[in-house]
Every structure is written in structure tokens, then in C-alpha cells.
């Protein structure tokens, strides 16, 4: 902690100048920061409506079973119960899904995972609703669950669509080529839960016109509305999704599995209905990171340059497709990492099992392969006796190189610069060199750690993610900017999930219009769509749309003045609410120029199109890429196998820093989530049954587990196709940090460390070893 001051200045890297107070580059705090800190910020679980009813879901206790009968009569007759709905009450489409409609709203014949919804109850008290849900008599014929994804290929189909959700056989180069050195590895990645700090909650209010309004913390309101309307048998414009405060999102939130039953109950009872999921339901209901099995063979020459990579990647999708095909595309495309690989043969599969459902979680696909290819790079370095950082430097990708998908990297790819930055950053002091500060041992302040048994390890990892939706997804966003009475308002359906979009939108308008007071309207589906809050797309497309709209307002504002003075609008400048011309002749205020008018403009941003991967895994599938290098320093108690991450040094390719404080928090949050992936976070199952779905059994990192995170370098090489040249920053540290921690534990213990999260027995060094 003593050398903070020295590293802070290094971190900024470059000419020191006072950061602006407003606009792009300012560390503008979020507008809702105070309310969130004080606990007055309203989340969906805080909503209330006059005369509301409470909903509860009945969930399957079995991972795989045939439903023989459902008897709701006992539940319906309970006093206080107002409605009980099952699959028979779904008047529209019986199934839904973001890419493939394969998930039933309520299981009708077969349940395919532990916790699948079977019925829902609305009652006048939450306890009554829960008791009524428990009183629904369901007769099951328990079936053998398929829980090993390797057996899913041969197993009886779990779903009419079959067990194989997607297969990508990527072929690139010469399959017969052999390297002088070959290393092989088998890697397993566990099931991370997004574990949002607030569990799912929502309120559905019926409308007099037969429609329904759903108030919830959705991250993709328009898709959710369309899916819900189809299941209700209503037109999309009869359903309105209103986004409330989102209590944390690192994946899809408030998935339709909660919203559709809620809406159905509201439509059926004619009363507002509220659902607040328990933590257990939250663990059972929402999507997790894909547990993944990876087999790798790396070929290299004697200098350590990669010749060929062969890999098999198997994603456990759980019972339903959800976003699995997107995750698989990312896993296959980035299977070799940010390295030049002349020949690559990657087979990827996403298969159905009776395990808990998998779906979109930050950095999906890319995170799992990063842990594996970086394990391979460490193995190669050990086999060749080359320093791990040096071996990586010999292979790193740069702009102009080609990915195994055949796509040329056209965006900035300063991978070597990132790796050098973390490698050359001074290592944290050893405890013996700083006797004045107390040493937090692995196991914690009251743990059993013993200094003599602790080994320190240093490991490196390089990670990459794609930005925006891939493979031809239409990534459009629309935004409106309104200026009236010296105040600007942004109307955009991009959901603020905590990623900082609304702060960014305010900064963009401040920058373009010179207006200090900017409000961001709350989101509902009456606004034009802005797409899901995933893959950093709002920084890019929604930010781009806000900028265009703001520029259009600027032109509207300045055009009459420019005309009057016979100059173009480009020669006028707006700062601090004042309009001045380049020569100082004209000087007026924005308020005066507005003359009581209200100015509106709406604009869209749509990045260049992409194409799906073909049957050989080839295609320009990604709009842009972001890179990150992390050096992890860990302490391992080699007798107990307890691990503490001491320091994470991060260098990241960010394109351009738009809000330094916000960027730092995004990186710190991502690295901390990655530490959880590496060490503790794994939702365990026994034959498809989730064990201990609570926050005692599922250990998230606490402040003592979070490392000292050093942002060593932020490479600002602007991406010309991105608005402002900025790259989204949240996902790539999540992808890279677990691999870096694993590499450091490998260095400390000499053990292979091929499984995440790292189990204590994998970090123990026994006398014989």
C-alpha cells in the first residue's frame, strides 16, 4: 500500500493535464450514486401498487421427469389465492427463447432442469402464494437425467429439437502439419452464476385495454416485450415493459421466465401482481456461465512460435438453447487467443443436458477458452524452458493479422504493448521487505495461514473479446436528444445496468452541446429499441446514437446564428452555455439563442454489418475486438491449498478513455468477478440437482478476496469505426483474469491447475511431488 502515489502517476501514462470537469474525459459521477449509496434508490423489489397480489412459482424438484398430472384444485381453494396458472393458461406461444423458441413458459409434459417453472400462483400475501404453490399436486415419473455433456451426443433426445444445439468445425490451414514441440491439455471450467446483488423482481399491472405493463429490471426490454406478448397472445404494442432500477447485471436480467408468469397472472386476475424472487429461486431460475470441457493440442517450433492449434470445446448449455450458439461462436473463434496461429482446427459443440440452464454471462465463450489456451502457453513455455511472458511475446497478434476465422484484425490490437506494460511493472514487495505492514495470509486474517508454508507465484494471461453482437446481428440503437430551457434530456432505451451508460450519455451531450444539465429519461418500450445491454454495445451504438442526435440539435441551434453572421456552424463553439465564434465577434448564450424554443432530434447508430460463421467456421463475424493483459501475483499456502490473489496488474486496450473514474471501476469490477471465477464461484450440482443455492454455499469474493488491482496502462489507440474511438471495457478483464490467476498458482505450486475454480487440493504441494 505504501507505493500508491508512485504507481498512480505511472498509470495515467502520458502528458499530464487537468481532466475536464464536464464532457468526454471527465470523471463525472453517476447521477444516481447518492441515492444508491444511501439506500433510497428504488429497485423493482421496492415497487408497490394499490391492491397488489403476490406471485409465487412452483418449480420442479427434479432435473428430468415426466409430468403425469397437475392438480391445482387444493391451491385454488386456499383462502387468499386469486389465480393459479399452468401451461393450459398460456394462450399464445407455449414456448419462448431469444434465438430459438425452445423453452416452455411452464413445463407441460417434461421437466428438463431442476427449478423449471411448472405453475404460478397469485395471492394476497407472499406466504399464501408460496404455500399455495406448494399445495399444487404434481405427479412425476422421474427420469434419468443426462448430466454429463459428453454423454449428451448418444443420449435419448431431451427435447424435440435434439441434443446438439450447435456444432462449429473450424478448419483453417493444413491439418497434417506437425510442430517440433507438442503439448496437450484437458481443461474444465465450472458453472459461474451471475449472482446479481438484487434477485429478480417485478410488478405487472393490467391495462384497461386488455394489455399489461411489466415493471422490472430488464436489460433488453424490447426483446422481452416481444417474447412476452407472443406468449400472452397479444400484439407487442399491448405489452409495455418499463425498466426500473437494475440491481446489478453481468448477464441477462429478469429473463422472461419471471416476466411471462407475472404478466399472465395480472391478465387473469385483473390486479397488479408482484413477484420478488428469493435467492434460491434466483439461482435456480436464471442462466449461468456455460460449464465447459476443453481438449487442446498446441504445436510449436523449437523457438516457441505456434505452428498449429487443435482443440475440442464442449459447452454444457443446460436444457434450453438460449444464447448458447453465440457463446459457442465466441469460444471457437477465440480458441487460440490473441496469438498468430497459422493453422487451426477447432471443433466446438453446445449440447443440451439436464443441468441448470446456461446463457449470456459477461465474456461468455471467450473466458473459458482463455483459461485453456493460456494453460497451454504455460505448458509450452515450461517444455521449451522459455519465460512465459517471452513465449507469449513471440506469438502475439497485431493489427493486420488474421484470426482463425479468416477475419483480418482491422481494429487496433496493441497486444504486445499491453503484455510488456504488465511484465515491466514493478512486482509488489515481498512481506519480508515491508515488515511494517501486516501480511494478509491466504485463508484470511483469522485463518490458519503460516508464513513458512506460503509460496508466491506470478502468472500472465492475454485475453480478447468481441464487441457488439456477432454473426450478422443487427446492432442498431436509436436515441433522441431534446433541449429546452437550458436543460437537455436524452431519451434512449439503452438500460443503465450499472455499466455507466446514463453517465456516458450525459457526458456526450455536455461535450456536443456545452449544456451542463443533462437528464437521461427512464426506459420503457414505448421508446424505439436500443437492444440488449450486452457485449458493451451501449457504449458503442447507443453512445453513437446519442452523439448523432446531439449533433443534429447543435446544428438546429447554430444554423440560424451562423446564417445571420454568414459563417458555417463549424466556426461556432459552445462552452459553458455560451456560443462564441472563432473570431470572437459573436458571443451569446445558449438560452438566448434558443429563444424559448424546444429542439428535438432523433438519430440511429448502426455499425457495419457482420456475417455468420460458415460450415468451416470462417467469416467476418465480429464488428470489433478488445484486448487485455493481466499479470497476477498470488500467495498459496501449499499445505492447505488456500490461495490469495495479492495483486492484479492490468493493461487494457480501451480505444479512448471517456470517463476515467468509471473506466477504473469497470476494470476493477471485472477483475474481481474473474477472481471469483478462478477461486470460488461454482454452482455445484449432484446428478442435475443444484446443491446449496444460497450465498453461503456459493462463495462470492469479499473485499478481503479482492486483490490490489493496478491499472498499469490504458492504451488509447482510437478505433476508427467506433463512435469516439472508444472500446467497451467491462468484459475483457472478466475473460482474462481467471487465466492469469491460474497461471500464477501454476507458477507458485508447479501443479498443472487445469480446472476452474481452482480447488484447494489442486494447489497443495505434497512431500512426494
Amino acid at each position: 500500500m505504501s507505493n500508491d502515489a508512485a504507481t498512480e502517476t505511472q498509470a495515467l501514462d502520458g502528458p499530464q493535464q487537468e481532466p475536464p470537469a464536464l464532457g468526454l474525459g471527465a470523471s463525472l459521477p453517476p447521477a444516481d450514486a447518492r441515492a444508491k449509496t444511501e439506500g433510497t434508490f428504488p429497485y423493482a423489489a421496492d415497487l408497490w401498487a394499490e391492491g397488489l397480489l403476490w406471485a409465487a412459482l412452483l418449480r420442479s424438484p427434479h432435473p428430468h421427469a415426466r409430468i403425469l398430472s397437475i392438480d391445482t384444485s387444493a391451491a385454488s381453494e386456499m383462502p387468499g389465492v386469486r389465480a393459479v396458472v399452468t401451461h393450459l393458461d398460456v394462450l399464445g406461444d407455449p414456448s419462448y427463447g431469444r434465438l430459438v423458441a425452445d423453452r416452455p413458459v411452464f413445463a407441460s409434459e417434461i421437466v428438463r432442469h431442476h427449478g423449471e417453472a411448472i405453475a404460478a400462483v397469485a395471492a394476497d400475501h407472499p406466504d399464501t402464494a408460496r404455500m399455495a404453490a406448494a399445495a399444487i399436486a404434481v405427479e412425476y415419473e422421474v427420469l434419468d437425467p443426462v448430466t454429463d455433456p459428453e454423454k449428451a451426443f448418444e443420449a435419448e433426445p431431451l427435447h424435440p429439437d435434439g441434443n446438439l444445439i450447435r456444432h462449429i468445425p473450424l478448419r483453417y490451414g493444413d491439418p497434417d502439419l506437425m510442430g517440433e514441440v507438442v503439448v496437450e491439455g484437458l481443461y474444465r471450467i465450472g458453472r459461474q452464476d451471475p449472482a446479481p446483488i438484487g434477485a429478480e423482481a417485478g410488478l405487472a399491472v393490467p391495462r384497461p385495454d386488455g394489455g399489461v405493463e411489466i415493471y422490472t429490471g430488464s436489460t433488453d426490454p424490447h426483446t422481452d416485450r416481444d417474447l412476452a406478448a407472443a406468449c400472452f397472445g397479444l400484439e407487442p404494442d399491448q405489452v409495455r415493459v418499463v425498466v426500473t432500477g437494475v440491481p446489478g447485471a453481468t448477464g441477462d436480467r429478469e429473463d422472461p421466465g419471471f416476466q411471462i408468469p407475472l404478466g399472465l397472472l395480472a391478465l387473469q386476475t385483473g390486479c397488479p401482481v408482484k413477484l420478488a424472487a428469493t435467492r434460491e429461486e434466483s439461482f435456480l431460475g436464471h442462466a449461468h456461465r456455460h460449464p465447459t470441457l476443453l481438449r487442446y493440442r498446441h504445436h510449436a517450433d523449437s523457438e516457441g512460435r505456434l505452428v498449429k492449434v487443435e482443440a475440442q470445446i464442449l459447452l454444457d448449455a443446460g436444457a434450453y438453447a438460449d444464447a448458447s450458439s453465440e457463446s459457442l461462436a465466441a469460444a471457437v473463434a477465440f480458441a487460440c487467443g490473441p496469438y498468430i496461429v497459422p493453422h487451426a482446427f477447432i471443433e466446438g459443440w453446445a449440447v443440451r443436458t439436464n443441468n441448470p440452464p446456461s446463457g449470456h454471462v459477461r465474456g461468455e465463450g471467450a473466458m473459458q477458452v482463455c483459461a485453456a489456451y493460456e494453460g497451454q502457453m504455460d505448458k509450452l513455455a515450461a517444455k521449451l524452458g522459455i519465460d512465459p511472458a517471452e513465449l507469449r511475446l513471440r506469438n502475439v497478434l497485431a493489427t493486420g493479422d488474421i484470426l482463425p476465422t479468416g477475419q483480418t484484425v482491422t481494429c487496433p490490437a496493441p497486444v504486445a504493448e499491453l503484455l510488456r506494460a504488465v511484465r515491466d511493472f514493478p512486482l509488489p514487495a515481498l512481506p519480508k521487505d515491508i515488515p511494517e505492514s501486516s501480511w494478509l495470509l491466504p485463508g484470511g486474517p483469522e485463518g490458519a495461514g503460516e508464513p513458512g508454508a506460503v509460496r508466491r507465484g506470478v502468472g500472465y494471461a492475454l485475453g480478447m473479446v468481441h464487441m457488439l453482437g456477432a454473426e450478422g446481428a443487427d446492432e442498431v440503437s436509436t436515441a433522441t436528444v431534446k433541449v429546452h430551457d437550458g436543460v437537455a434530456t436524452v431519451i434512449c432505451a439503452a438500460v443503465e445496468t450499472g455499466q455507466g451508460f446514463s453517465t456516458l450519455a450525459r457526458q456526450i451531450v455536455q461535450e456536443t452541446l456545452g449544456i451542463e444539465e443533462v437528464h437521461v429519461a427512464s426506459v420503457d418500450t414505448d421508446q424505439p429499441p436500443a437492444g440488449p445491454a450486452t457485449h458493451g454495445r451501449h457504449t458503442w451504438v447507443s453512445g453513437g446514437a446519442v452523439e448523432r442526435a446531439a449533433k443534429m440539435v447543435r446544428t438546429q441551434l447554430l444554423q440560424p446564428l451562423a446564417h445571420q453572421f454568414g459563417m458555417s456552424t463549424e466556426l461556432l463553439q459552445i462552452t459553458d452555455g455560451k456560443i462564441t465564434s472563432y473570431d470572437g465577434v459573436l458571443s451569446t448564450t445558449v438560452t438566448e439563442a434558443m429563444d424559448g424554443k424546444e429542439l428535438w432530434a432523433t438519430a440511429q447508430c448502426r455499425p457495419h454489418p457482420t456475417e455468420p460463421l460458415d460450415e468451416a467456421g470462417q467469416g467476418d463475424a465480429f464488428v470489433g475486438l478488445a484486448f487485455c493483459a493481466i499479470r497476477a501475483v498470488v500467495d498459496v499456502d501449499i499445505e492447505l491449498g488456500s490461495i490469495r490473489v495479492v495483486e492484479m496488474a492490468v493493461a487494457q486496450d480501451v480505444g479512448r478513455v471517456l470517463n476515467p473514474a468509471q473506466l477504473a471501476t469497470r476494470i476493477e469490477a471485472g477483475v474481481t468477478q474473474g477472481i471469483g471465477t478462478a477461486l470460488t464461484e461454482n454452482l455445484r450440482t449432484t446428478r442435475g440437482l443444484v446443491r446449496r443455492p444460497d450465498l453461503t454455499g456459493y462463495a462470492l469474493p469479499t473485499s478481503l478476496d479482492a486483490a490490489d488491482i493496478r491499472i498499469v496502462k490504458l492504451v488509447e489507440e482510437r478505433d476508427v469505426v467506433a463512435p469516439f474511438g472508444a472500446k467497451p471495457a467491462s468484459a475483457v478483464p472478466v475473460v482474462t483474469s481467471p487465466a492469469a490467476v491460474a497461471a500464477a498458482v501454476r507458477a507458485a505450486t508447479g501443479r498443472p491447475v487445469n480446472r476452474l475454480p481452482i480447488r484447494p487440493q489442486s494447489a497443495v504441494v505434497t512431500a512426494g511431488a
Binding site: P42, L47, R130, G444, A448, T702
Partner: protein, 328 residues
């Protein structure tokens, strides 16, 4: 009571109530069913005997001290107590006093209080286990008596009390008091009768080093995967050790205790060679996690699974380190 933990009606959007009145409302039909499931009575007695009387008067009522386990079960819907007897205002339970070489600890002592230095000077291992018992919020509320009554396998104070051979002073109706060894309660040999309450815990003051060590899955607070308490009793020339979290109750490896006590030179500096410490650790671990018995036909017994072997190694390491820290 359960209302407040389920919903906080904050005035929010168009649909919110605007009159700012918190609390539960009746349903639109004017019918509400919540009342029968809510605790009907909450009693806050000021003395131990009053508390016992309150429990006798209402046998369905549940005593609550810190509530760190009980209220979690209520919030989860696992428990719907008909009534609560709050023990928080019984000041006699919140401190301790001395009685012929023992400390009589009030069952209402919080982990936070027991973690403080003055208490650590008296019973170091109990203080160490209290400091390790979860995050500050839990330690501020959770109590010694509650830890015993919950009797979770991972309860941090339990192996320490087992190693100290503590006795419980149980209060019953009519001012009656009886003593039962803590190990008897934890093993289910003796149970609390209806309306009985744990009043005090009688712990011997040994005036010798004691150590409590625990292994967890993370650096931050967590439940023990294994824990070991080692206390020295120089007056009786004994070493007592208990292993927690690996079985439903703390385990005492008595043979290992007697063997290591016989090696210690109690009249000199009590030091032991590192090999003896290692052997003690392995003795303790093998006693608590034994090898599978050989099959009747004389064939090789099945090997322990790797996770169990790791647990045994963890217990051995903890026991070795704990004894090493207790000896000079």
C-alpha cells in the same frame, strides 16, 4: 415482523402508493391471509427466569438471541414461530463472572464481545473462534448460546468448547438449574427439555496457551471446511484437541491427545521436535478420518476419494500448526 423483510414499499413510479404509508395492505378483495402466519406474540423478558416462565407459558414460542440463524430460517419460510421470546434484554446473560477456577460465561455474549482482548486473555481459543465467526454484522449479533443451540457442524465455538470440556448451565422452570457437558448436548446424549434455556457456559480457566485454527474456502469470512482447537492443561498435564466441521459434532482424538501429552516435558519448556508435531497432526487426522476397514475377504480396502484425502491432509496440517503455536 416478516413484512419488513419481504417488502419495503418505497414510493416510486406511476403505480406506486403516494401516501407514504409503509406496511402491509389488505388485498383488493379486502381479504388478507397474512395474520395467522405471523408471530402473534413477542416477549422481551428481563431475566433468565422470566424467559423460562414465558416459554413455559407458551410452549410453541421460540427463544431468539442474535437471530443470525433463526431469522434466516424465518425469512426463508422454513420456520413460522407462533411466538418469540427475545433474550436480548437479559443483562445477566451478556457478561461473565468467576466461580472456583472457572469462568461462567453468559449465553448472550456476542462473538464481537468475546473477540475483544480482555476476553482473549482469559480464554484465548474461544476469542480466536469468535473473531473467525463470520463477518462483523454476524459477530455483532450472534451469541455463544445461539452457536451452541444451533449446533451447526461448522459452528466455530463448538470445537473450542469441546476441547475445554465446558459444561452448560441450563435454566428450567421454577428457577431450577442443571449442568450438562456441552459434548453431551452436541452428541444428543442429553437434550434440552421444553422451556429450558442455556443460561451459562462454565469454562475452566487453564492459564495456558490455547489455539483455534480454521480452514475456509476463501480469504474473506466463510464457513470452516475444517477447524481444530488445541488447549493445554498444565495442571492436569494434558493436551486436549477437538476437530470441528468435518462431522456433525466436534471430534476428540483422545489417544492422540494422551500420546502427545506423554511426550511433553511439562516441568521444562514443553518444546517438541517438528517430527513429533507432524506425527501428532497425522495421528489426529487419521483418528478423525479413518481409513476404510479392510474387507472381510482380506482384499485391499477401497482408497479414500481425493477430496477426503485432502480434508484429512487439512486436518493434519491444522492440528500440527495449532499444537506448534500452543507450544513454545
Amino acid at each position: 415482523m416478516c413484512q419488513s423483510c419481504l417488502v419495503r414499499p418505497v414510493s416510486t413510479y406511476g403505480t406506486a402508493n403516494t401516501d407514504g404509508q409503509p406496511g402491509h395492505r389488505e388485498g383488493a378483495a379486502g381479504l388478507t391471509t397474512h395474520a395467522p402466519q405471523t408471530a402473534q406474540s413477542v416477549t422481551l423478558p428481563a431475566s433468565l427466569d422470566e424467559a423460562v416462565a414465558a416459554l413455559s407459558a407458551m410452549p410453541a414460542a421460540v427463544p431468539v438471541a442474535g437471530g443470525t440463524d433463526l431469522m434466516a430460517a424465518v425469512n426463508k419460510g422454513l420456520l413460522r414461530p407462533a411466538g418469540l421470546v427475545g433474550l436480548g434484554r437479559i443483562s445477566e446473560l451478556r457478561g461473565w463472572h468467576y466461580q472456583d477456577g472457572h469462568a461462567l460465561l453468559g449465553a448472550g455474549l456476542t462473538h464481537a464481545r468475546m473477540g475483544r482482548p480482555d476476553f482473549a486473555a482469559l480464554i484465548p481459543a474461544l476469542a480466536a473462534s469468535s473473531r473467525a465467526a463470520g463477518p462483523p454484522q454476524i459477530r455483532n449479533a450472534g451469541t455463544l448460546g445461539g452457536n451452541i443451540a444451533t449446533a451447526a457442524p461448522t459452528g466455530d465455538s463448538l470445537p473450542v468448547l469441546a476441547a475445554l470440556e465446558a459444561d452448560l448451565v441450563v435454566a428450567g422452570p421454577g428457577g431450577s438449574r442443571r449442568e450438562i457437558p456441552v459434548s453431551h448436548l452436541l452428541a444428543g446424549r442429553e437434550m434440552l427439555a421444553p422451556a429450558e434455556l442455556i443460561g451459562f457456559v462454565r469454562v475452566p480457566l487453564l492459564h495456558a496457551p490455547q489455539v483455534y485454527l480454521k480452514a475456509t474456502g476463501r480469504t474473506g469470512p466463510g464457513r470452516a471446511t475444517a477447524s481444530v482447537a488445541v488447549v493445554l492443561d498444565p495442571a492436569r498435564r494434558g493436551v486436549r484437541c477437538a476437530v470441528g466441521a468435518i462431522a456433525p459434532m466436534p471430534l476428540r482424538p483422545m489417544e492422540a491427545e494422551r500420546w502427545i501429552a506423554s511426550l511433553i516435558d511439562w516441568d521444562a519448556d514443553r518444546g517438541l521436535a517438528p517430527e513429533a508435531l507432524t506425527a501428532f497432526g497425522e495421528y489426529v487426522a487419521a483418528a478423525c478420518i479413518p481409513d476404510p476397514a479392510p474387507a472381510a475377504d482380506g482384499s485391499e480396502p477401497p482408497a479414500l476419494p481425493p477430496a477426503v484425502l485432502h480434508l484429512r491432509r487439512t486436518v493434519a496440517t491444522l492440528a500440527r500448526r495449532a499444537l506448534g503455536r500452543a507450544l513454545p
